[in-house]
Symmetry: C3
Subunit: 146 residues, 3 copies
């Protein structure tokens, strides 16, 4: 049974490593630009790093939800692959935002697209399972066995 | 087995759609009131939309936790229904907060009540399972089969 | 099957109670220091309470992820114990940060260490499961049966 979620679990763990890295970068930026807690205001260089981590944190639960739902109800292989791409996109977002506000945009669009794909697959997977329950039709059987 | 969580999964997916909608509203408000990242300060109209989304995002993981725990350990039917009500309450909260700070209060109280109910059912469900493990008593068997 | 996750579920529910307590403290601090939404700026006493809750909220999904992954793939007993310690550390963090910015540091280091441990066990558990799948070796079988 664990083998049916081990890849999405692996991607989730990788995501936690990434979030930990983002947090450490904020701590470092706090030191570099002397922005002591509880303050969150500082030079734009600091605020970009601070907001980059805040934005990634805000989306992390959303990401995990669609990663797991599409992984369980649609296809683990497709979900974990998209999950890896999402984490890559967020890394680029964090780096880009750190350099300039504009630098965040391209990776943001990229990771937003992945998130929409995961959301679409989650929806399909859930609808398919409801279909099976009520109409005994499994139109995703082949896909799910990928 | 999937049928035991498909409704809470469906509500979670709906919740992600809602969070996506809130995010898009913040992006629109940033354009409308010219508040460019990394800034988060602007006219009260902007700040209310910004905070509404921030507040809903902050509660989203808490909501998912009690939705799933009470859905798995207590009753999927009751949890998903409460989950739908919570998402409705948060929609009203977002709309209300967007209009005025006071407008957020009634829907906030409503969704807080739902959250307490889900938390109570989660606690009951977990305690019941522990009871079954140690004392072989299942006082929720009837309710869980609802 | 539920018995394999009931302790991590119990710790998660406890975590939700803790987050609810933190939120209520922010609401109280808003009243005490007259900081009306959508504003989040106020005297340092308010901002410390506000940031303490924000920081704990930000880490909550990360905590849940490693709690569940290490609970399922490594050892439920070890994970739930570490989970309890983490929640205790976060309580101390909240209290300490409320008193002074410095007061947050010792509990922060403590809960960060717990988080790293949970992350390490999650990684080990996932790697072990992948190992079993591909090489039919289960080097954690003994530990997992703890
Ligand atoms: N959002 C956090 C990310 C990094 C973090 O967790 N920092 C620790 C050590 S400086 C903290 O206690 N931050 C205080 C806070 O978030 O208000 C921050 O702004 O600092
Ligand atoms: N909390 C976000 C919600 C919407 C969002 O994700 N916005 C994108 C595009 S404007 C972003 O990169 N925001 C920058 C930020 O959150 O600092 C915000 O304040 O903007
Ligand atoms: N982060 C919240 C924590 C407590 C909470 O949920 N407060 C409710 C009632 S005052 C709220 O609507 N807060 C508005 C907001 O978060 O902007 C806050 O700053 O207030």
């Amino acid at each position: 049974m664990l083998d049916q979620v081990v890849y999405v679990a692996a991607v989730s763990v990788l995501g936690v490593f990434e979030q930990a890295y983002f947090s450490l970068q904020v701590i470092q930026a706090r030191r570099k630009y002397s922005v002591s807690p509880p303050s969150t205001a500082g030079p734009p260089e600091f605020e970009r790093v601070f907001r980059a981590q805040a934005n990634c944190s805000e989306y992390f639960p959303i990401f995990l939800t669609v990663l797991w739902v599409s992984g369980i109800f649609f296809s683990q292989a497709i979900s974990s692959l998209l999950g890896l791409l999402y984490l890559y996109g967020r890394y680029k977002y964090f780096q880009g935002y750190g350099k300039s506000a504009l630098g965040r945009l391209a990776p943001l669009y990229f990771s937003a697209k992945i998130l929409w794909a995961l959301l679409a697959f989650s929806t399909l997977g859930v609808l398919n399972t409801l279909n099976q329950l009520y109409f005994d039709v499994d139109f995703l059987q082949l896909l799910n066995s990928v």
